[in-house]
């Protein structure tokens, strides 16, 4: 492969969120990911781009999908990676976050990938660490790599973002995916509709430049993209909606309801899915579903981000 080089300009030490990135920067990541996608099609899926570089994967919150996607991206870039997870002893509870940061700094990593249940943790680490920090999800705040891989997937199928109508449905309040997607899609010129029960709708979200709907049918009417969000069981247990059964009746995506969307609409889900709660299996596994493409693209997008952050650091050094 020809490594993306030349006039690539990336000026950030960290990727903490989509908020703050402009359309050019988002486009740069997506273009770079395109080059890395090609690596996955080779028999030997490895490039030496990050040889000798150390990446720490710091997952304070359980994650299978995102963590393995990052790990695979790091391996394919030949980086040395080290994993810490919340259940392990390395991230013990008595330690303050700043203690953790000091300990990490002592290992001289080049990049730190962090997921945490509290918003702002990647930001705090970024302030204290010399290493670049990649936000792999901070509470209900942002999940920038997910939004980027979603955009990349939409582009594969629609060849554009500008002018598309994207409906995002589900537990909006607790979703970092939706916040990053709103920033990204509105920056790139798409129209975003948000739908879900009022009890799972954060106040004033329309100020983020979206329209708010309390009816699935209304939200997905003529939409080009329908993105379903995971509804966590604990939300129902905490009384935010009465039952999964009723949730599915009101906001579950079925083949029949999907007919209201544009004829060539695609269906997305950041995973893991609750079949029969937010999405019917017939849709999840059907021809309009691009859910597995999202997973495949995740690796390429994360390779692109790791690469860009290292390029920036090389320039700074």
């Amino acid at each position: 492969m020809t490594e993306p080089t030349g006039d690539v300009v990336w000026r950030h030490k960290d990727l903490l969120g989509i908020a703050g990135l402009d359309a050019t920067e988002i486009q740069l990541i997506l273009d770079t990911a395109e080059s890395f996608l090609e690596v996955a099609r080779r028999p030997i899926k490895k490039v030496p781009t990050l040889r000798g570089r150390t990446v720490l994967n710091l997952f304070f919150e359980p994650s299978t999908r995102t963590r393995s996607s990052f790990e695979l991206a790091e391996k394919r870039l030949s980086a040395d990676s080290l994993n810490f997870s919340g259940s392990g002893s390395a991230l013990s509870k008595g330690e303050t976050l700043i203690d953790t940061a000091r300990n990490l700094q002592a290992m001289s990593p080049d990049l730190v990938v962090v997921r945490h249940q509290d918003p702002g943790v990647p930001h705090l680490l970024a302030q204290r660490l010399e290493a670049g920090v990649v936000n792999a999800g901070d509470g209900a705040h942002e999940h920038p790599t997910q939004a980027l891989l979603d955009a990349f997937t939409i582009l594969q199928h629609k060849q554009r973002l500008d002018g598309l109508t994207v409906a995002i449905v589900g537990d909006i309040d607790h979703s970092r995916v939706v916040r990053s997607n709103i920033h990204l899609l509105t920056t790139m010129g798409a129209t975003v509709r948000i739908a879900g029960p009022r009890t799972l709708m954060p106040v004033a979200i329309e100020r983020m430049g979206v329209t708010v709907h309390y009816s699935l049918d209304e939200a997905i009417a003529d939409a080009d993209v329908v993105m379903m969000l995971r509804v966590q069981l604990e939300r129902q247990q905490r009384g935010l909606f009465p039952s999964n059964r009723e949730y599915f009746r009101l906001f579950g995506l079925t083949e029949e309801r999907l007919r209201r969307a544009a004829d060539d609409a695609i269906v997305m889900h950041p995973g893991p899915m609750n079949r029969g709660v937010e999405i019917d299996s017939a849709v999840a596994d059907g021809p309009t579903s691009v859910i597995l493409d999202q997973v495949a693209n995740g690796v390429a997008v994360r390779m692109a981000i790791l690469y860009l952050l290292m390029v920036a650091r090389k320039e700074a050094a």
Binding site: L97, H116, P119, G120, H123, A140, V203, A204
Partner: protein
């Protein structure tokens, strides 16, 4: 600091403060007059007063002389949390911040729920003699919100108010009994109005910013619904209710109406809620110095609170001093940081510059909010320089420029949203019963910052 070990509230000193601008809202006075203090009491106010040869004369030309400022309520750490603040550091911080008195909140370990703790606090505070300490006792035993404390004995021992500090009263029946019972001793009942169930573990104001940041929000209805209940209880009991603090437009409007109906209610506000909004949490990059309780609200609330400060709905400004150790406050993420800041050494300058300097309040009104109002709520001496009053005095220099530098605080707390702010106007000295306490002591010359 001068002459530590002497209790300023005892035998008073004599001094003539000459040439200052005396601003005393209690007697509607704003004039360049001399202030003569004899034996710890204000003896005379007038132009070109002559002093006995015995008396020290201090030239305060160019300074403003006001009744000693009183921090209505501050949480110190002693006993139990001395890593956060001791009585010594807290009172020294108060004096340096321009205060001559301080209401001390009861959330210590053990809490201030028995006579012996009140007595211990008063005895310890008297040893330091930098500012008067007015204990605010717990409303409920162990601050648990279940059983009333022995308010009669607590008042006898010197407690000037009751309240459970930052802990809201969930049990309306307990609060009702507290308002009834405290009225036997004319104690105001301090309440933090919020509904923990509506707050759902929120760490900032619920609104656009909490939505953007993905942080749990505390809705304004949480404060406003509890204020509505509390005002009804105050009316029902005719008790003395003090809302500490008020932070939303809806809550302050309820207080205004309650006062119009003649209820015995009062409320305070913090400079943070008068000057900052929830947007600061976003622009401040999740700084834990902005984690305060109640949370920073919106520009609309700020507008309502400023109006209420000017029109008398709000009775006092408190810094809401609630210091923490850096390990628990600065080295952690926003969601787990405890609410509270170090405020004793920032409040007066912040108010002088941002409230008076920018025309939101007159200087006289600010003095009322920082001295006369707190004295009236707590029912303590002070808040006035009328002849015969205790001569607790604060000197202000309206021109002095200061930069808030937490590392230089006498307080052990270092977290403040005002760090780095450069402000015009500062306290430059205090007198307790005529005895010089804070500020450099240069007889015959203007008093300077230490």
């Amino acid at each position: 600091m001068s002459e530590p070990g002497r209790n300023g509230s005892g035998d008073g000193a004599s001094v003539l403060l000459r040439g200052g601008r005396v601003v005393d809202p209690s007697q509607d006075l704003d004039a360049k007059v001399d202030l003569l203090v004899e034996n710890g009491r204000v003896a005379r106010l007038g132009e070109a007063l002559a002093a006995d040869q015995e008396i020290e004369v201090v030239d305060v030309d160019g300074l403003v002389v006001v009744p000693g400022l009183i921090e209505l309520r501050a949480q110190l750490g002693e006993p139990g949390f001395e890593q956060r603040e001791t009585l010594r550091t807290g009172l020294a911080a108060a004096a340096a911040g321009g205060y001559t008195g301080l209401g001390a909140l009861p959330a210590t370990e053990p809490p201030v729920d028995t006579r012996s703790v009140v007595e211990m606090l008063r005895a310890e505070a008297a040893r330091h003699a930098t500012a008067r300490l007015h204990p605010i006792a717990a409303l409920s035993r162990r601050l648990a919100g279940e059983e009333l404390t022995e308010m009669g004995e607590l008042a006898e021992a010197g407690a000037v108010a009751v309240g459970d500090g930052a802990r809201p009263q969930r049990d309306a029946a307990l609060l009702r009994r507290a308002l009834q019972y405290a009225s036997h001793f004319d104690l105001p009942v301090f309440c933090r109005a919020t509904d923990p169930q509506l707050d759902r573990g929120g760490v900032m104001h619920e609104g656009e910013q909490s939505t953007r940041l993905g942080l749990r929000g505390q809705p304004r209805i949480s404060e406003e619904s509890v204020v509505a209940r509390d005002v009804l209880l105050a009316e029902d009991t005719r008790g003395r209710y003090h809302l500490a603090p008020v932070s939303t437009r809806g809550a302050v409007e309820q207080m205004r109406r309650a006062k119009e109906r003649g209820l015995r209610v009062s409320c305070d506000v913090t400079p943070m809620h008068l000057l900052l909004t929830d947007e600061a949490v976003a622009t401040g990059g999740f700084s834990t110095a902005l984690r305060v309780d109640p949370p920073l609200r919106t520009a609309d609330d700020v507008e309502a609170l400023l109006e209420a400060c000017a029109d008398g709905t709000i009775d006092a400004i408190t810094g809401e001093h609630r210091p923490h150790h850096a390990d628990e406050k600065a080295d952690v993420q926003f969601s787990v940081a405890p609410p509270g800041v170090s405020a004793l050494e920032t409040t007066v300058s912040v108010c002088l510059d941002r409230l008076v300097g920018r025309g939101f309040l007159s200087l006289a009104r600010l003095v009322e909010l920082l001295s006369t109002g707190p004295a009236r709520i707590l029912g303590v001496d002070g808040g006035s320089l009328a002849v015969g009053s205790v001569a607790d005095v604060t000197l202000l220099d309206l021109e002095r420029e200061v930069t808030i530098e937490p590392r230089a605080f006498r307080s052990l707390g270092r977290s403040t949203p005002f760090a780095g702010w450069t402000l015009r106007g500062a306290p430059v000295g205090t007198y307790l019963a005529g005895r010089h306490i804070a500020g450099r002591r240069i007889a015959g010359r203007r008093v300077d910052l230490p």
